[in-house]
Symmetry: C2
Subunit: 252 residues, 2 copies
Amino acid sequence: MASVDRHRQIIDAVRRAGQLSVAELAERTGTSEMTVRRDLELLAEQGLLERYRGGARSVLLRGEEPPFALRATDGVEVKERIAAAVAEMIADGEAVVIDAGTTCLAVARALARRRLTVMPLSLHATNALVGAPQLRLLMPGGEPRPGELALTGPLTEASLAALRFDTAIIGCCGLTAANGLTAYDLADAAIKRAAIASAHRVIAVAEAAKLSRTALALVAPAAALHAVVTTDDAPDAEVDALKALGVAVRRV
Amino acid sequence: MASVDRHRQIIDAVRRAGQLSVAELAERTGTSEMTVRRDLELLAEQGLLERYRGGARSVLLRGEEPPFALRATDGVEVKERIAAAVAEMIADGEAVVIDAGTTCLAVARALARRRLTVMPLSLHATNALVGAPQLRLLMPGGEPRPGELALTGPLTEASLAALRFDTAIIGCCGLTAANGLTAYDLADAAIKRAAIASAHRVIAVAEAAKLSRTALALVAPAAALHAVVTTDDAPDAEVDALKALGVAVRRV
DNA sequence: CATAGCAAACATATTTTCTGTTCGAATCTC
DNA sequence: GAGATTCGAACAGAAAATATGTTTGCTATG
């Protein structure tokens, strides 16, 4: 369908302008207002923008984490590259816990056809792994956060505390040598911490942009990580600082 | 699509005959052999029948439980009627644990728009409940059984043991006053037992046919149930026997 | 190694989805 | 509360996706 391009165009235009009228969007996309309205309804449902009478505004610019659906379509190729690199670092037969988030979801997809024991920490990853024939899928308990579907809460912590994994794949919102691995959501941060505590080896995944960002909740100091997989446009200074802490950094 | 009718026709024909050749099926459905082959591939993937060179055979007649995909399309209307009756018995605000299986999946769907706390014991039910705005969804841990996606194992038992529910909705493979509530799968039976143990009230759901059937694993004696919801064609003798044990029986 | 069965490739048919228009109802502005 | 704008349901036509059947060359099985 070609409508997906128009959706992207609308999201980008709204994001750039902050807010736009239906009429303006109809003109820019070269479609009718009715089509734009239908698109906006759809996009608003996914939390990609906010609808108001006459137009729509961006949900960003609020300091919050952008919604899952938005991040899921952003930088797909980059995430797949990182995921492939992580998959190379995992040996057959390992027990792996995979964090929530879009980058970790890419990792889950990359591991789906492998012979592994996997515990995903989000229902998105679960759905990606269900039905994989060689894979032993282990679900943690917990409450799925809307949209994100990240499992959190005492049930999740208890599930993690009862197990010992070979490797934890951890996503993040920010990661610097100075401020450590950070997340927006406090409940998520607690789970990441528990996952790190129950794994022998910790691999963090972080696109370059995250290496110059710090979020609210501290998960762990950077030295707690064994490896970081990032992109080749990661800032040298930060990469060197991480290496100085004994973290293996892989740029792909 | 009209192909779904043909699929059903193929499944029924194969089930009745035990096995059938591609040529025979092509003639019966009035389509080409190529179409039949494509259908068989699809159906075999879902575990609805078994493919062999030249034809397909039924997966039933093995004493095992028929595959989930097969039961899911069987007696849909009956299951929805039972589910609606169960939904009436649940008050807003309750905490409910919902067992795996197709009948319980119907119950989950019927409860999706209610204001409740729900813990589903299968990923099918999870998917039906995710995104429900008023519902507080609680996931148990565990290993999803292929196809069924029923969560089982020590993680599931631990999740249940940590909680107390107002009501448990339990499905079954067989239920009689004499032999109690029984299941095909041993791991499932253990989970059902744990769910019953952590709920104040236990409602069993069972289409009429199950009231004259007994499966391998005993879950609980019939007296452990508070209510049974069944269909109006349930055998009177069995219904009376259940009532004599103090079980409230509702026929819909 | 012969033969029935199979799957890829393609053209066609069918269904589904998408889009734009119209029109009455709902909502905002002054 | 009047006037204007926006909205959404309904429908018809357009576009896209899917399903089907035929051909052709390959594969497995006895």
